[in-house]
Symmetry: C2
Subunit: 262 residues, 2 copies
């Protein structure tokens, strides 16, 4: 229990900023071998760095080709904020994430842990079940039609919210997909966190972001979230499967209580 | 991050069997000072042992009087199985648990963590919101009337289910009760676990327990659950508040997917 992730080989996407950078840093500090993936390398927080654009299918294929075998953990952390255009956002946050995961599974060691960084923004997924079901056949080729049919444009940050809602459902759906190999998938949902993309959220969400700020005692920090990801990567969580840990200072709990008049 | 709970003073109720015993054992192993509470002492897994009947208000008061100050963690683990009479079950699992918690808060150190051991049996709490709201005024004195008014007798294990449903709601409601002192409350919900009370569950739940067994690849063990409790006691979880970690091999996720046709 002491050495949570010591000696584990872990891939972290979006390792150059925010939650991904802090996660890579503490995993390295704990003796893990971190393979970082991002557009640019900002820190010496990884053992190996792989430059890759996770919105592009061919790039993802090429990335997985050069990754080593025996990967004990995959942190799907890379994600675009709601200010980005809906098509590129859905490519990175949803299509690319799923594609990378399926491609990487043969290179995962038995007992490996996959951790998806979702968001409090995904909390309302039950209201989007129809669109989420429809997204099961979503590909790079029918993306524009999907955005228009299911109204998941960038307006009001809808594409971002949808990407996180669908990610949470996909996490649950994969609770037992690789159970015979002991590979589990879980998610972590941060609330508002003080990272380089926080201004993008405030720009998109406006009043809602202000309300959140007034409710919370302080904004979250990458230091609040990274240890939760490390925990899910560790052997302490072999019985947690298809589950979403909400690390948001109590914001999700607050929403749930309000919704039920509690 | 390495020494999750080293040097922390932690009270564990129900420390003599099952999940509580394993929790006390690994906390002690990690260098915590464990104060165990139970009816009888079975193991040398604690620093100090306090004999107490947690169904009794006066006994709880007497217990808290002799506990030291500076407590960093409280694990509300003691609980009766569904085969017990409804009144004694609700006293231990709900009334006694709440009473102990409120009494012990003044002896908690700033930044302390309270962990309630709930259950997958509490998963359906949204359907019981009215009874749960009514239970806010439940005391030792109006228990019989409450059981009859809200139909929470032991039939079909209803009193057990209700005790866990109410515990999950109470956990959420207390997300920010002691926020000014940095004291957080969270829950852990195991699914079916191979402990001395597993036969009681099978006796009460019948077909449902069999269905669970067929769905799971194996029953849970105390070794699956105790590390999750240790995690919630550690400083790694200061941003997790009013939250319920479901450590059940994916059973809750399975129920949620089924309920939404996913």
């Amino acid at each position: 229990m002491r050495d949570l992730v010591k000696g584990k080989r872990i891939v972290v996407t979006g390792s150059s900023s925010g939650i991904g950078a802090e996660t890579a840093r503490i995993l390295t500090e704990q003796g893990a071998e971190v393979l970082g993936v991002d557009l640019t390398k900002n820190f010496d927080n990884v053992e190996e760095f792989y430059r890759a654009d996770l919105s592009d299918r061919a790039t993802i294929d090429a990335l997985v080709d050069v990754l080593p075998d025996g990967i004990d953990g995959l942190v799907n952390n890379a994600g675009l904020p709601p200010t980005k255009p809906a098509d590129i956002l859905l490519k990175v946050n949803l299509l690319g994430l799923k594609h990378l995961t399926y491609k990487i599974v043969p290179k995962l060691a038995d007992g490996a842990s996959i951790v998806n960084v979702a968001s409090l923004a995904g909390h309302g997924w039950p209201k989007a079940v129809d669109a989420i079901k429809a997204s099961e056949t979503l590909t790079w080729d029918n993306l524009d039609a999907f955005i228009s049919r299911w109204q998941v444009s960038s307006e009001g940050g809808r594409s971002y919210f949808f990407s996180k809602e669908a990610l949470l459902v996909w996490t649950m759906q994969n609770r037992w997909t690789w159970r015979d190999r002991g590979i589990r998938m879980n998610a972590v949902s941060p609330g508002p966190v003080d990272t380089p993309i926080l201004p993008d959220f405030i720009e998109t969400l406006g009043e809602r972001a202000k309300e959140d700020r007034d409710t919370m005692d302080r904004p979250g920090t990458p230091q609040d979230i990274a240890p939760v990801i490390a925990f899910l990567l560790s052997d302490m969580t072999q019985w947690i499967r298809g589950f979403n840990i909400q690390a948001d200072g109590g914001m999700a709990s607050n929403l749930t209580c309000k919704a039920h008049g509690l």
